[in-house]
């Protein structure tokens, strides 16, 4: 009824060429209160090697692997709404295909603290690097780069607090810091008060004319792991190792986007790269459970691991994109205490690498079907040619994407 009166007034208003009090219907984001979204995804995988085998030299790191045959991926339920004039709440609930519900993200963000300050608290993706904050449904490849897989378990998420400051400059300059519990790799669950990890990052970005834009960043991460368990060192059978010590990671990230006339709908080219280096030093307990014949041994352990990737995605028509990525890791040379010699490998003399190609078809911005081929040389002597097919669809409210 209101609408009818309203449009009638508006016609009269138009004829008089004057402004009326007739307002359009309220903005749509609030019409869904809260805004609900559901992401569905699934893969078909064909691999030549057992996905449980970790990258050479990274047996004590997470191994995200791939699934063979047909698989339902994570179904992601997103809920977001303004809580009040001060706060906005965002939750992403992940429904695992095997059953089980986990909270991927759940945080409160200040809406307009002003002065460039932005505060988030709850469970967040850390702001380090470029890809870390991006949800899996926006990834340009089926999987994360190897360096993210082994150093961050695909993505560093933390229970904590993040404060960012955006400088009042024409150029984009943002600095941020995070404090968190530090229970996820490279940290470990521990019973202790206070702060378990810290992150510092800075991002810079700008346009170059109307066709190009870029963002670059530096990040630092620090945590102290206590009894961080990891299983399986292939050479010595299945054993559990436990590491306690300091972990420091530095990273550089860069992304550049180009589009003729800046018209992203038709065509664009995106080039990005990131590098991370992690130094860990402390003590390692080999075979913490005492399962092997060699027996438990504890000694000092320090290593510097690093990795990088470069990738490029080209959208050549509004519906089709293709991309290429090269990944490389360096497991470093570990310095071992005497008691660990002969039990833990110090120098693998091998750099895991992978070359990945993908193409995807996007019927609209709400659906994507992707084919990905990879030559995975991340496991010494076990080259793997991988074929992955993936679908990702999004239903309901579709939030704006980050850069």
């Amino acid at each position: 009824m209101f609408k009818k009166i309203c449009s009638g007034t508006a016609v009269a208003v138009l004829m008089l060429h004057s402004v009326g009090a007739c307002a359009a219907s309220p903005g749509s984001d609030n019409a869904f209160n809260p805004a609900l979204s559901l992401i569905l995804s699934g893969t078909y995988g064909s691999l030549q090697q057992d996905p449980a085998i970790p990258a050479t030299g990274f047996a004590m790191n997470p191994n995200s692997g791939h699934e063979q045959s047909f698989n339902l991926g994570e179904s992601e339920l997103g809920i977001a709404a303004d809580i009040d004039p001060l706060f906005r709440g965002i939750a992403t609930i992940s429904l695992a295909s095997a059953g089980g519900v986990s909270v991927e993200n759940a945080f409160v963000q200040t809406s307009s603290l002003g002065n460039g300050l932005n505060l988030k608290f709850g469970r967040i993706f850390s702001g380090l690097g470029y890809l870390n904050e991006q949800h899996s449904h926006t990834w340009d490849f089926v999987d994360q780069p190897l360096v993210y897989a082994v150093l961050w378990g695909d993505q560093l998420k933390e229970d904590g607090i993040q404060l960012k400051w955006l400088a009042p400059t024409d150029m984009f300059i943002e600095v941020g810091g995070e404090l968190g519990k530090g229970s996820n790799f490279p940290g470990a669950v521990r019973a202790k008060n206070g702060n378990g990890e810290g992150v510092l990052f800075a991002h810079f970005g700008d346009d170059i004319g109307i066709e190009q834009s870029w963002r670059a960043g530096v990040s630092l991460h620090q945590t102290h792991a206590v009894d961080r368990l990891s299983s399986s060192i292939p050479a010595a059978g299945i054993v559990s190792n436990s590491f306690s010590g300091d972990s420091q990671t530095g990273g550089l990230d860069f992304v550049w986007k180009y589009s003729p006339n800046g018209n992203f709908y038709e065509r664009y080219l995106k080039v990005q790269g990131e590098y991370f280096q992690r130094k860990e030093s402390g003590s390692l307990t080999y075979d913490a459970a005492g399962l092997s014949t060699a027996g438990t041994a504890t000694g000092s352990y320090s290593v510097t691991q690093s990795g990088w990737y470069v990738q490029s995605v080209y959208q050549f028509t509004p519906n089709w994109r293709t991309g290429l990525r090269y990944d490389r890791l360096d497991p470093g040379i570990a310095s071992l205490g005497v008691s660990l010699t002969g039990k833990v490998i110090s120098d693998y003399a091998f750099n895991p690498s992978r070359l990945t190609w993908m193409t995807d078809y996007n019927a609209s911005e709400f659906s994507r079907i992707r084919l990905q081929l990879a030559h995975d040389n991340s496991r010494q002597g076990l080259p793997d040619n991988q074929v992955l097919v993936q679908y990702i669809v999004s239903m309901g409210a579709h939030g704006a994407h980050q850069y």
Partner: protein, 298 residues
């Protein structure tokens, strides 16, 4: 040394704090209108280029930085910027320009929206709940928008109220005269059947009396497929059209394909200020649009 650094830091902080009102215009037509109404009292940043599809813009770092110091945001609204503006607004942390604040101006709120969907279903393509957002193709829409924008400028910068009032009065007069001129020029276009590439022209059609018989996009925002274009071509035998119209930012191939086979001209209209070399301000945008449409009749 420390003193120098401190001074540099302060300079950095105050680099945006000159007297002019900082305006963040989402599209070039609103930058042009603000320019008409505010003159040198506003420092205007335009977020999108004239050859960009305004639905699909990246939430670029530069946009976030510019939004941080904006005092007034001038956008179309009606969900046109929904794919990027929410991120820019959130990351800018600028309370002055958040939705509902005086610094957040949405032009679509001041005009009668057309094509408000009766059913909301993404199977219908890229539909906007508030109606078709391409309001800038009807010159008459600029009158209520200009009046509201002028009032908003006065509200935000009361010290220059008289100036804004004068600018609006002058613009209002010139624009009404221009509308009368355009309507007279465009008289031969009345009742002409047209094909459009994207459903971007209901306001233009409504204004000039153009009759839209087909769209080249099967659903709004979906790429024309060869099969669909063939269907459109067949349909034209029953409902012939005089020309096929597209916005300057759109890929020309579907239009050219149909134009060649249906033996009708493909007409490119600027769609926004800067869309064509001739459309270098708001007045020229409509001058050029009408000239190009009239040329299509010949």
């Amino acid at each position: 040394m420390q003193k120098i650094l401190w001074t540099l830091f302060l300079l950095l902080l105050t680099s945006n704090a000159h007297a002019a009102l900082n305006v963040f215009a989402c599209e070039p037509e609103w930058a042009a209108l603000t320019q008409q109404l505010a003159g040198d009292k506003a420092s205007i940043y335009t977020a999108t280029g004239p050859l960009q599809d305004p639905h699909q813009v990246q939430a670029r770092p530069s946009l976030i930085a510019k939004a941080r110091s904006a005092q007034l945001l001038v956008c179309t609204g009606a969900e046109l910027e929904i794919g990027w503006m929410p991120v820019v607004l959130r990351e800018s942390t600028n309370s002055k320009i958040q939705p509902g604040s005086p610094g957040n101006f949405e032009a679509a709120k001041y005009v009668t929206m057309l094509e408000v969907p009766t059913r909301l279903d993404r199977a219908d393509g890229d539909v906007h709940a508030a109606g078709n957002p391409h309001i800038q193709t009807d010159a008459r829409n600029f009158l209520p928008v200009a009046e509201a924008l002028s009032q908003r400028l006065i509200q935000l910068d009361p010290a220059n109220a008289v100036f804004y009032q004068q600018r609006f009065t002058a613009f209002n007069q010139q624009w009404r005269a221009a509308i009368a001129k355009w309507e007279k020029q465009a008289a031969p276009l009345k009742g002409i059947s047209i094909i459009v590439q994207h459903k971007g022209f209901p306001y233009l059609n409504n204004w000039l009396g153009l009759h839209e018989v087909a769209e080249l996009e099967p659903k709004p925002g979906m790429e024309p497929s060869a099969a669909w274009l063939g269907k459109v071509l067949n349909g034209l035998q029953q409902y012939p059209a005089r020309m096929v119209i597209r916005a300057a930012y759109q890929d020309g191939r579907p239009s050219e394909w149909i134009a060649e086979r249906a033996h009708v001209p493909a007409v490119v209209v600027p769609f926004t200020v800067g869309g064509t070399p001739q459309a270098n301000d708001l007045f020229a945008m409509f001058d050029d649009t009408i000239q190009r449409l009239l040329a299509g009749l010949k």
